[in-house]
Amino acid sequence: MSEHSTYTPGNAVEKWLDDRLPIIRFSKEHLMDFPTPKNLNYWWTFGAILVMCLVIQIVTGVILAMHYTPHVSMAFDSVEHIRRDINGGRMIQSFHAVGASMFFAAVYIHIFRGMYFGSYKAPREILWILGVLIFLLMMATAFMGYVLPWGQMSGWAATVITNIFAAIPVIGNPLLELLRGGFSVGNPTLNRFFSLHYLLPFIIAAIVVLHIWALHVPGNNNPVGVDVKDTKRDTLPFHPYYTMKDAFGMVLFLIPFAWFAFFAPDILGHPDNYIEFNAQVTPAHIVPEWYFLPFYAILRAIDFNILFIDSKLGGVIFFGGSILILFFLPWLDTSKVRSGNFRPMFKWFYWLFVVNFVALTYLGAAPAEGIYVVLAKICTAYYFIHFLVILPLLGRIETPRPLPTSISESVLGKAH
């Protein structure tokens, strides 16, 4: 959208720079003047909040790495050392650990925002796909980070999750040994996880750049989902209107963040992770971090063989499928109308999907017995039915409500 640039270099130095590396022009176009729909609500501040989360993880993480020792005999103690001895280490460590949870809370809101307002639909498919890729990398990063303190949950999470790869026919077992660097999770595993945990956030940062690039080609979607028709009437410059709104959103978000970090840094974790990893004893109740629970529930739900596919591989296929299916969402939803506000039937199914997702979260933490096992199967089935049956059908049978003719009309009402 370069035609919106109003930049004229203010002095000779800026002019000199502009002819060589037009970085000021670029920033002005994309961070200040960028035309942004004027009806964005607070759900749209989560993009900026996510950038803030990534920065917090990188800054606190690089500091933690200055004091952390990636060795099985020292890792656990070095994290305790950070928490007890390093100046301010207690807060830096808790901001990093709590930060991972807040990061996921924000990303789930961001994803469900996109699902409700149809932000994945044309022409924003690539934008959506890059987002799912970021989500996948975040999961990998958080998982490997969780292994670093080398507590009981760390070690058993590493064991269970790497074991997922052993389900792949033929190459499964050699692949498992390759990933772990041994016959079991041990020092080589811890070392490589540390190396990758340091690397991946920077890869995420690079994909975030692509994500924003892909956003700035079509521009933002908005709560009514109709395209910008008249830049003057429908949009506002990003700065100061949305820089301020985003900043306010960040401040609100930092309130619960700080509450957790200062007053309850361990409430989101598990006490078992304050016992050093012991390869001979699995804790009685192992559960992943809350942000993995829905997918974990799906993994566990498949405890029966499907034709020639055994229960283990079946669980892995459904587990992987539950995330990969998100890549295809732009093509599974056949409705042309973006915003859920104008889709009377979709709206109900959307909320049903949200409830089902929360139920899966609950079931992922429940013991694998009795009624929970049955419920997990039902919720898993519904998760896939939503994407594979309901969304494709709704687009055909639903009559959407009339759309406003423009963003401006939806904000100011029809001109009389």
């Binding site: 390869a279 001979q280 699995t282 063989n305 283990k312 013991p367 694998a368």
Partner: protein, 174 residues
């Protein structure tokens, strides 16, 4: 056209394909060591075999020892457990194996198995579950008194490591 077609299969094309092929093989040969370094190293492989004295384990008890970084159950089974395992019809089993196949002849009281659940690798809890064997708390797999999978998401019986009895009281694992 005909002359062009003639020209299009020249030595230049051959050189082009040959160069591409060599570059491809070269790239693969460079990448492989970069991946192979992830595989178990020499010091890990060196821990391949151990000896263990079982005489101190009374009937009805088990110990967990380590072999190649993996936990291994050594269980001294009671007669009731052995009888129970033998009585199970093979048709009831998800991964059919007889009790004889799970133990060494003349040493039926000893059950030696890798202690990682065949589902996702947790260590099951002994003397529990619905089949008087092991119960894996992670996702609810039940194993019987011969370590065979009976219920839950695990696909296979607990794995037997390669082992042999050097004497009545000494086993070599690996």
């Amino acid at each position: 056209m005909a002359t062009q077609a003639h020209h299009s299969t020249t030595r230049r094309d051959f050189i082009f394909v040959a160069t591409g092929a060599v570059a491809g093989v070269g790239a693969a040969a460079t990448v492989w060591p970069l991946i192979n370094q992830l595989n178990p190293d020499a010091s890990t492989l060196a821990l391949a075999s151990i000896e263990f004295d079982i005489s101190a384990i009374p009937e009805g008890q088990s110990v967990t020892i380590m072999w190649r970084g993996l936990p291994v159950f050594v269980r001294h089974r009671t007669q009731a457990e052995i009888d129970e395992a033998k009585a199970v019809p093979l048709a009831d089993l998800k991964d059919p194996e007889t009790d004889e196949q799970r133990t060494k002849e003349g040493h039926e009281q000893w059950l030696i198995m890798i202690a990682n659940c065949t589902h996702l690798g947790c260590v099951p809890v002994g003397e529990s579950g619905d089949f008087d064997g092991w119960f894996c708390p992670c996702h609810g797999s039940h194993y019987d008194s011969a370590g065979r999978i009976r219920k839950g998401p695990a696909p296979k019986n607990l794995v037997l490591p390669p082992y042999e009895f050097l004497s009545d009281t000494l086993v070599q694992i690996g």
